[in-house]
Symmetry: C2
Subunit: 342 residues, 2 copies
Amino acid sequence: MKLQNDLLIRAAKGEYVERTPVWLMRQAGRILPEYRAIRNQMKSFLELVQTPQLAAEVTIQPVDILQVDAAIIFSDILVVPEAMGLPYEMLEKKGPYFPRTVASVQDVQGLRVAQPDQDMPYVMEAISLVKEQLQGRVPLIGFAGAPWTVFSYMVEGSGSKTFSKARRMLYQEEQMAHALLQKIADSTIAYLKAQINAGADLIQIFDSWAGVLPKDHYLKFSYPYIRQICQSIDEVPVTVFAKGAFFALEEMGKLPCDTIGLDWNMDVARSRQLVGEGKTLQGNLDPCALFGNQTDIIKQTEDMLQAFGPGRHIANLGHGVYPDTSVDAVKCFVDTVKEFRH
Amino acid sequence: MKLQNDLLIRAAKGEYVERTPVWLMRQAGRILPEYRAIRNQMKSFLELVQTPQLAAEVTIQPVDILQVDAAIIFSDILVVPEAMGLPYEMLEKKGPYFPRTVASVQDVQGLRVAQPDQDMPYVMEAISLVKEQLQGRVPLIGFAGAPWTVFSYMVEGSGSKTFSKARRMLYQEEQMAHALLQKIADSTIAYLKAQINAGADLIQIFDSWAGVLPKDHYLKFSYPYIRQICQSIDEVPVTVFAKGAFFALEEMGKLPCDTIGLDWNMDVARSRQLVGEGKTLQGNLDPCALFGNQTDIIKQTEDMLQAFGPGRHIANLGHGVYPDTSVDAVKCFVDTVKEFRH
């Protein structure tokens, strides 16, 4: 089905757009009372992720309520390790927890390359449902974690301020680390291909823990696997958001992808200079700016749009929207972008 | 008493040094079995901080055991809010917790500017004891948190990945935020003066949560208060370590201080260019590099020393040493720096 609003896709490709498209990372989630109502009916976050009808419903909620220019499939980056044979739980207020972690060559060998249609059919079913129900209103974004970020949870077993356990493996067991990263990358490519087959119109790769690595390790243990993924996807545009990777913006500019996401504390002009003219940039309003009053939100959003200039920009926050953000503030942000003309 | 080893002081001032001085952030702490033995005798971390004889003992341990070129007083950045009237606990494995937080103008008004000799005499007593016992072997570093970092705990009430509650106040209650920051800055200046009076030979300011702020907020809510502190101290050299403030390195170079600390993922040459020639740089080996084998640690340490070049450098890690680092690895790092000649 032809998209009625394809601003996101055109902006990603660097084509002409009448105005800047806008969506928010984590727009399908706790900010919306309508989401919380559905979430509260479920035993767990993962049950919601694995129930296609409801995952589809919360995916579409922000399109209806916030009038954003894209939907992003409601899911989680850690469905990939689960599909590889390493199950996890999502603990309330604590985040992901893996009862078993990867610590030895045997552990790596014991994992399989995910077969998406078999191991995580619920995601593709949810995507099909969303596409059916959206009727081409806006594009649907599929996503996955970058191999390094997924690796860091599989080895660490949970979130961490330093991820020193995961990073220890990079210094002590380089070969094992690469074997695991490759298995994750292979799984991720298969997973993203399946998402595209099911209907995803654009793919975003989240490298949430890019920022804990020194540059040499980033270029050795994260970047090459993101590159593999980008190279393997030519069906739809690809966005890479490597949080905290201020030190690798120049290299990000050389990835075979279309869009680079920016943190809220990355300077726009400087980032454009480092990334180069060949990519679309996505971001990067401070998520906490949405705690301000309407006048301030409008001003900050307009300042951001000015900083990026016309074209090759997808408006977003520089991080996922924080759960305690008011819906009115989010609407103000979205409306300001949609009304702005360069 | 004259210092027998004043490499740290000379390096900070940009004077000639025979070799690069070296110490580690968090060197007095859990990496040493000798520290853990003393810590295990105490009911709590804070009891140890508040017992001058033992705080002095653990301060000197790394000088004896690791042969570093400086001691740093064993204490905590959050003794300042406690002295201002906002007590806290240090929860095992969870970090600091404030039962009461700052949320209103009344809360700010209810806090006092700390009078260090009255409100936290134990720190100055510990410093005096260390100086007495060190007998001039190496300099003693005093320290405090940057006002923004201390503020973030006082408002948030605990550690946080985003500090969105503390950051919300910057957008919603700018005047209140400045009033609180000024009270913290005034307290911090008094506190650091008292540390210097008691014998501290150099002061380090830790802005641990610099990296969560967008640049405009950093320059508005953190930087000016660090500047005030730097301006008020002319007795001893001052080091500023603003973790994650890659976006403000040029401005850091203009602070009236002597040394700028660098994270492990900041590029040395680029940082030197941004900070300028007028400052000493401190850092910045990846703390996880100490999980490698001896050959790798030696190579990485030498590569780092080469990158900084001779003079205007104080060797350190780019973050506090992680608790599960082996003492032998730390010794290897220290010895490599001490044996290296440019």
